[in-house]
């Protein structure tokens, strides 16, 4: 059963694509109002787990629970009003404007004969303001930079107005300043009371932004909890096969992983 303190959890999950099993008997609990980051080496199953939590992938065994119900037993649109997902890659429709794309996030709240309520309008302008894309409203999405485009996708997910938002590698393909920009935005959304779950690649960024870190390897959760408590050189070595030193991030006070150096510049 799902723990009462958590709206989103998975129990006894076996996750597989066709015959290729990625994870077996996985239990996971997403703490409410946390910024949970799932991390691990390539092919550890972190994106697969996120996809299962977002009901994109049906587990072979076990179940994902949302608010105490098996997620697949709930009406699909109903789930979409509680839980949003920003997929790793989405296709920008030809010639669509920023405002139109963000407006598509309202789909789960609409019906054939109720296509554009005042609540829809408010949610869209709110989402565009939060992601700082309001000035871009009439621009064509295809013509934006990678960082702007990712903010627009985030705005679409925000317009969905879900209390839980899952993000599959939201910073991939972005340069460092845009990565920080997107993660700062996620942190803000978290501070406003949303439960955020993100798959990230960069361990230092994960430590900096996560309030709850889930560390995976080979389809299993190796460790989870507050990054300042669980991230140790031993853990990094066990999970990533990397020798490192851990210091305090001078900016945020969170753990900062410094990989062992092969050479040293002479002073």
């Amino acid at each position: 059963m799902a723990a009462p303190s958590s709206r989103l959890s998975g129990t006894g999950l076996t996750l597989a694509y066709d015959q290729r099993v990625v994870a077996t008997d996985l239990d996971v609990v997403i703490p409410d109002e946390s910024f949970t980051v799932i991390i691990g080496p390539n092919a550890c199953g972190k994106s697969t787990l996120l996809r299962a939590l977002a009901r994109m992938l049906k587990p072979k065994t076990g179940a994902v629970h949302l608010d105490g119900s098996v997620i697949t037993s709930l009406p699909s649109k109903e789930v979409a009003r509680r839980l949003g997902l920003l997929p790793q890659s989405s296709i920008v429709p030809d010639g669509i404007t920023v405002a139109d794309l963000v407006a598509r996030g309202r789909y789960p709240h609409q019906k054939l004969m109720r296509q554009w309520s005042k609540a829809d309008e408010a949610a869209v302008s709110e989402a565009m303001k939060a992601t700082d894309v309001a000035e871009l409203a009439d621009r064509i999405v295809d013509e934006l930079s990678g960082g702007q485009r990712q903010r627009v996708w985030l705005a679409m997910a925000l317009a969905q107005e879900t209390p839980i938002l899952l993000l599959d590698e939201p910073t991939t393909f972005l340069d460092i300043s845009h990565q920080i920009e997107v993660l700062d935005l996620c942190a803000e959304l978290h501070e406003e009371g949303r439960t955020m779950v993100a798959v990230l690649h960069d361990l230092n960024q994960a430590c900096r932004y996560a309030t709850h870190l889930i560390v995976m390897r080979d389809g299993a959760i190796v460790s989870e909890g507050d990054p300042t408590k669980i991230v140790t050189p031993e853990l990094v070595r066990e999970v990533f096969d990397l020798r490192c030193e851990i210091i305090q991030d001078p900016q945020s006070g969170t753990p900062l992983i410094v990989p062992e150096a092969r050479r040293r510049v002479s002073a």
Binding site: R51, P75, K77, A80, L86, S90, I91, D94, D100, P108
Partner: protein, 335 residues
């Protein structure tokens, strides 16, 4: 632009509305021209009378029995091709995903040719075309299926099926006797010549049943264009919508081909032209239907009048008009 009445609200794009109105007007003008002009001119005021049995016997025969069924069949077939094309271009996210490129029209042709060479009646040719289209679509869908159907795989499998079926069609024609081959050849170009109400009725019925279905799936289809995960995250049952769309698209294409033969280019060009005129993101079903109807009837009118008294099959003209217009638009897109 938003329209709100109580808890009802509709979102309308002014440009799409304007384009729709213009297309309706164009369709009306083409219809009037097709009914009025020709070897025997029926003055415009007499057309209404002729249709409702108040005109001269000659006008009644020419307008009511010959021209009206032809132009109505043209409007309906054009609309069906337009929607069928729009559906598959949306599903495959590719203009080349139209039924005339992914083998469905070729499969319909195979069915039609088989009916011709086995000495079938006009009804059996139509049935053969519909059956050929459906069977091809099922095969392409099954062959392309792997954890759901991805657009690019549908296009690739479809292009393969298309090539194969064109070879089969050529082979069937070489084996047929000269009369059958001539009949089949004429049918294969696609023509509205000699179409009566019995040709218009099945297409009208198909549109009546399938268009409401298309209204229901239009919005989820637009979401699926952003990718399966993005659509599922919005609460859309992707495979259900896709299966419904494929069924509707195949039936519309099959019924249209059964009525007029495999008229090329309408299914491919109509949605692309409509999209460019309305500047709507993604494929728009309603404007594609109108555009298909106007395109086909205008082409048929031109085919009858351009080289009169020589009558061209409309398929020749649709290829010329649709192709030329599309090339021009694609050139413009590059700037």
């Amino acid at each position: 632009m938003n329209v709100r009445v109580g808890t009802w609200s509709l979102r309308l794009a002014p440009r799409a509305l304007l384009v729709g109105l213009l297309l309706l007007m164009a369709g009306f003008l083409v219809t009037v021209a097709a009914l009025s002009t020709g070897e025997f001119t029926v003055p415009v005021p007499d057309i209404v009378g002729a249709i409702f049995g108040q005109g001269t016997p000659v006008a009644e025969l020419i307008v009511g029995k010959l021209r009206a069924p032809r132009v109505v069949t043209g409007l309906l077939v054009g609309a069906a091709f337009g929607v069928g094309g729009a559906i598959f271009q949306s599903l495959t996210r590719n203009p080349l995903g139209s039924p005339d490129f992914i083998g469905f029209t070729a499969g319909a042709s195979t069915g039609g040719i088989v009916a011709v060479v086995t000495g079938g009646s006009a009804m059996m040719i139509a049935g053969g075309a519909l059956a050929g289209c459906v069977v091809t679509a099922v095969l392409v869908y099954v062959l392309a299926y792997r954890r759901g159907v991805q657009g690019y795989r549908l296009v690739l499998v479809g292009i393969g099926a298309n090539a194969l079926l064109l070879a089969v069609n050529s082979y069937l024609l070489t084996r047929a006797n000269i009369n059958d081959a001539a009949t089949a050849g004429a049918w294969l170009t696609g023509s509205l010549g000699g179409r009566g109400w019995e040709h218009a009725q099945p297409v009208a019925l198909a549109l009546l049943v399938l268009l409401p279905l298309c209204v229901w799936i239009a919005r989820p289809m637009r979401m699926i264009e952003m990718g399966d995960d993005a659509a599922k995250a919005m609460g859309i049952r992707v495979e259900l919508v896709r299966a419904t769309a494929i069924t509707a698209g195949v039936l519309l294409t099959g019924v249209a081909t059964a009525a007029a033969g495999p008229v090329v280019f309408v299914a491919m060009a109509a949605p692309q032209l409509a999209r460019r005129l309305t500047r709507s993101p993604g494929v728009a079903l309603a404007s594609s239907a109108l555009m298909g109807a106007v395109l086909l009837t205008a082409a048929d009118l031109a085919a009858q009048r351009l080289l009169a008294p020589t009558q061209l099959p409309v398929g020749v003209l649709t290829a010329a008009i649709g192709g030329t217009y599309l090339v021009l638009l694609l050139r413009k897109d590059r700037h």
